[in-house]
């Protein structure tokens, strides 16, 4: 029987990098913090608010996201979108994710059970 704690740690490790990939994909369509959080959750990427909000700012600092304040609505919201730089970075990350999946598949098939 696998311990729940150990399982949770490994799942966390496995998921850690995918939040960045998912955010860069999702922000090809501009969005603000909480709306992005909900979209990611709806698509099977549950992420904590206290992780996502600082992450968005960090990606912006790295030039992977651009932002724009929208003051037209009832409360001012900061809309993020994936920059050109972010897009090329995302393509590299997606290639690598695909490569990992291919490698895993190859390994599974190559190992007799």
């Amino acid at each position: 029987m696998v311990s729940e704690d150990v399982l949770r740690t490994h799942l966390q490790e496995l998921r850690r990098g995918t939040v960045v990939v998912a955010s860069l994909v999702a922000l090809r369509r501009p969005d603000y913090g909480y709306a992005l959080l909900q979209r990611l959750t709806d698509h099977g990427f549950p992420v904590d608010a206290n992780t996502l909000y600082p992450l968005l700012r960090r990606l912006e600092d790295q030039g992977l996201l651009t932002s724009e304040w929208n003051t037209a609505e009832s409360r001012p919201r900061k809309f993020y979108r994936t920059s050109d730089e972010g897009e090329s970075m995302l393509n590299r990350l997606l290639d690598d994710l695909a490569a990992v999946q291919t490698s895993i598949t190859g390994l599974i098939q190559g190992v007799d059970r």
Partner: protein, 315 residues
């Protein structure tokens, strides 16, 4: 206005860099309100929803650290090993060195055995200071944005694999301490024997006449034994040459001791004046014989023990 949200924002922004504080505040407030609205839209009580949202966001200090991209540790993995190595290195000799110097200075000022206390106290103080200042320095380096260029690890730094020692360090240390204490006792008993004459003056246990030759000779033999112990540790196992040297030194100590004890020349004749039991010649002979037999038993036992070890380790 001092709602839970205001308090949460204030607590979070306290440790976020100033130049981005306002922007983060506006965005975070909007996000919190979005989250609350989402819950009250589902029919939840606004106050309960606020509590729930802030609880979900968690400890504001953790959130602020994530915004500032700052580690939540005093010394992180980049510097931890360097810190630990320096700490061990500095603590391994500086407190003992300073403590010893202080003790020696106190002895020079004539404080006698009272000098050990201040020495130990100073050594402890120095140890605490080293640990505190070194840790503070590394905590500051950890928090500064500048990266310190640390030399990378190479295979050349690998220490030698520990060789199997036939001579444990603890044994050597214990032997050297015993020998040094014995050497120290010989002059010590001359000045401080806790036996006092009628005028309150100190009466040495051993005959002061022995200082003309025998006691200095015994001290030389003991000092040579210390050297042999250290050489033995460096060689790391017994050899027949070591055994012979050790046996000769053992005899050079035991034989004069036995001879002096049996010929009633070991103890100070002045002791008999204070301890009436010693005034009787028969009693003195019994005591001398006891000392001689004790010295013989110790010497023989030592010879057998080291011979067995030597045979085992040279086999």
């Amino acid at each position: 206005m001092n709602t839970l949200t205001d308090r949460y924002l204030a607590a979070t922004l306290r440790s976020v860099p100033t130049q981005r504080r306002d922007e983060i505040a506006t965005e975070l407030r909007a996000s919190i309100e979005d989250m609350i609205d989402d819950r009250t839209g589902g029919g939840a009580d606004p106050t309960a929803a606020e509590r729930e949202v802030l609880t979900e966001l968690g400890n504001p200090d953790v959130l602020a650290a994530r915004y500032a991209d700052r580690g939540l540790q005093l010394i992180g993995p980049t510097y931890y090993l360097v810190w630990l190595r320096l700490l061990k290195l500095l603590l391994s000799f500086i407190p003992a060195l300073v403590g010893t110097i202080v003790a020696i200075v106190n002895v020079a000022e004539g404080k006698g055995f009272g000098a050990i206390g201040p020495g130990i106290v100073v050594a402890l103080h120095v140890g605490v200071h080293i640990a505190f200042w070194l840790t503070l320095t590394f905590a500051i380096i950890e928090r500064s944005q500048t990266t310190v260029d640390l030399p990378g690890w190479t295979v050349d730094q690998l220490p030698d694999a520990p060789v199997h020692r036939g001579i444990p360090l603890a044994d050597t240390v214990a032997s050297v301490i015993m020998l040094v204490l014995t050497i120290a006792y010989l002059p010590f008993q001359h000045y401080q024997s806790w036996v006092h004459g009628t005028d309150g003056e100190n009466i040495p246990i051993l005959d002061p006449a022995l200082w003309s030759f025998w006691l200095p000779a015994l001290i030389v033999v003991l000092a040579a034994s210390v050297v042999v112990e250290i050489v033995k540790y460096r060689i790391a196992h017994w050899t027949w040459a070591l055994f012979t040297t050790r046996a000769l030194l053992s005899l050079a100590f035991a034989v004069p001791l036995m001879w002096l004890a049996l010929s009633d020349r070991l103890l100070n004749p002045a002791l008999a004046e204070r301890l009436s039991w010693l005034a009787d010649a028969d009693n003195r002979n019994v005591l001398g014989a006891t000392i001689a037999v004790g010295a013989a038993v110790v010497a023989v036992w030592d010879l057998i023990d080291t011979a067995l070890k030597t045979r085992r380790q040279t086999a």
